[in-house]
């Protein structure tokens, strides 16, 4: 068990993550719900299309990632190093097409 994550991942943080994911579905215009799951599952996302995606915190200590995204029934979970990666993983699992990678304009000095 990753004690640090276990300590810092208070229930209120998980609730905030679920609220955030719920807002994220609205942002993506995806009809669906976000509910709590049994530990270590932080959130269960049910899309109106029938897709179900589970978000977990890793259980093993010192893992180089913070989140796992898994389509229900799949043996494979996608590890994500940050919340930004988590959103990318969920988009992939739900088949959501959104924006592209951030692009920084060139400046005169490096042009």
């Amino acid at each position: 068990m990753n004690a640090r994550y276990a300590a810092s991942a208070a229930h209120e943080d998980d609730a905030r993550v679920r609220d955030f994911l719920s807002d994220t579905l609205a942002l993506w215009r995806v009809a669906g719900t976000v509910a709590a799951g049994e530990s270590p599952i932080v959130a269960v996302i049910r899309a109106a299309t029938g897709a179900i995606v589970e978000v977990e915190r890793p259980q093993q200590a010192d893992m180089p990632f913070r989140w796992l995204v898994r389509s229900r029934g799949s043996e494979h979970a996608r590890p994500c190093a940050s919340l930004a990666g988590l959103l990318s993983g969920i988009r992939g699992a739900l088949g959501v097409e959104r924006g592209g990678a951030v692009r920084i304009a060139p400046t005169p000095s490096d042009a």
Partner: protein
């Protein structure tokens, strides 16, 4: 650096009238004008009289759709000819879009082309809105709302006509884009100084007026005003933070915005207190997923060292942006603590 301003506005909103009037002003005498006309036979350029040859017409389609490369090539060519002395030494460029153009792709082209970056800097966006039909146009045409939403300055035209709804239109525009001043113009009469040099990029070596450029107080006031929560799907809001942001948090934040908001993030600008550079605020500015490289100011423009970020977006919730930033910040802080050697934890 040559500032490039974009004049946009819906069909018939008075762009050409405004531009024609501006070009008669002596302050605009060294201006290169690029007009994009939609259709095989352009007319707008016939309505303009310029004093030199720094005038180009693009008529093979809508600038936002299929001639972005033409715009880039044209600006690049003008810069080369200017350097060679074969066109006058223009000090400013103005691009007039078609009335149907979404300005965002045009801004992307101006912001991201490497060849242009040495010669030009995006100055700002001026959007014309017709006081007679503007309300209905804003209601019916999303592109019109997008044109208003990305503006740095809005010019309300035809306010002298009997059917003008100037106050109602101005209120609607203030709801769409609270940070953009709305200037009334009769027959295009607006002083150039009121419209241009609104950008944050130091094209004239002057100290940028970050406060006026960001206009975060107007946005914050508007977002708390019940009148601005209407049926429109375009919203604006301001995020304030007292605590500095780590650079990696900022990078993750901008990346997540780009990837998850897509074209719904119409415009974002801000002044950021970056933890690693506490005495030099970073000015950031993005249109959809494209951002200017941060401009690091030499010092804070005032005693206010809070991070202030203004967002204008479609179908975007302030709570989502706020939670994204808070959660990322907490993650980065946790990760930093986790990687810290045990002895340094205290």
């Amino acid at each position: 650096m040559i500032p490039v301003a974009v004049i946009t506005g819906f069909l018939g909103s008075g762009k050409t009238t405004l531009l024609a009037r501006l070009l008669r002003d002596p302050a605009m005498c060294r201006t290169a004008v690029i007009i994009n006309e939609f259709g095989a036979v352009g007319l707008d350029h016939e309505l303009l009289r310029t004093s030199d040859e720094s005038f180009v017409r693009l008529s093979n389609g809508c600038l936002c759709c299929n001639v972005r490369s033409d715009l880039v090539l044209t600006l690049g060519d003008l810069a080369v000819r200017r350097a060679a002395g074969t066109v006058p030494q223009f000090e400013r460029a103005v691009v007039e879009t078609t009335g149907l153009a979404d300005p965002a792709p045009i801004l992307h082209a101006l912001m991201t082309d490497r060849d242009l970056a040495d010669a030009y800097a995006l100055d700002g966006v001026v959007t014309t809105v017709d006081a007679v039909t503007g309300l209905a146009t804003l209601q019916q045409h999303e592109v019109s709302r997008r044109q208003a939403a990305v503006a740095d300055r809005i010019v309300l035209t035809k306010t002298d006509l009997p059917d003008a709804q100037a106050a109602a239109t101005a209120a609607r525009l203030a709801a769409l884009n609270p940070g953009a001043p709305v200037l009334a113009a009769v027959h295009g009469a607006v002083a150039p100084a009121a419209l241009f040099d609104s950008g944050i990029y130091d094209v004239h070596g002057k100290h940028p007026d970050v406060h006026a450029w960001l206009a975060h107080e107007a946005v914050a006031a508007a977002s708390g005003d019940a009148r601005h929560h209407h049926d429109d799907d375009i919203t604006s809001f301001c995020i304030l933070r007292h605590e500095p942001l780590r650079a990696v948090t900022l990078a993750l934040f901008l990346s997540a915005l780009a990837e998850n908001c897509g074209t719904d993030l119409l415009r974002m600008k801000g002044i950021v207190h970056v933890a690693e550079q506490p005495d030099r605020p970073a000015v950031i500015h993005g249109v959809q997923h494209v951002y200017h490289a941060p401009v690091w100011l030499d010092e804070w423009p005032s005693g206010d060292r809070r991070t202030r970020m203004v967002f204008i977006g479609r179908n975007m919730r302030e709570s989502w942006v706020r939670n994204l930033l808070d959660l990322l910040d907490a993650e980065v802080a946790d990760e930093s603590a986790r990687r810290m050697p045990p002895g340094d934890a205290a």
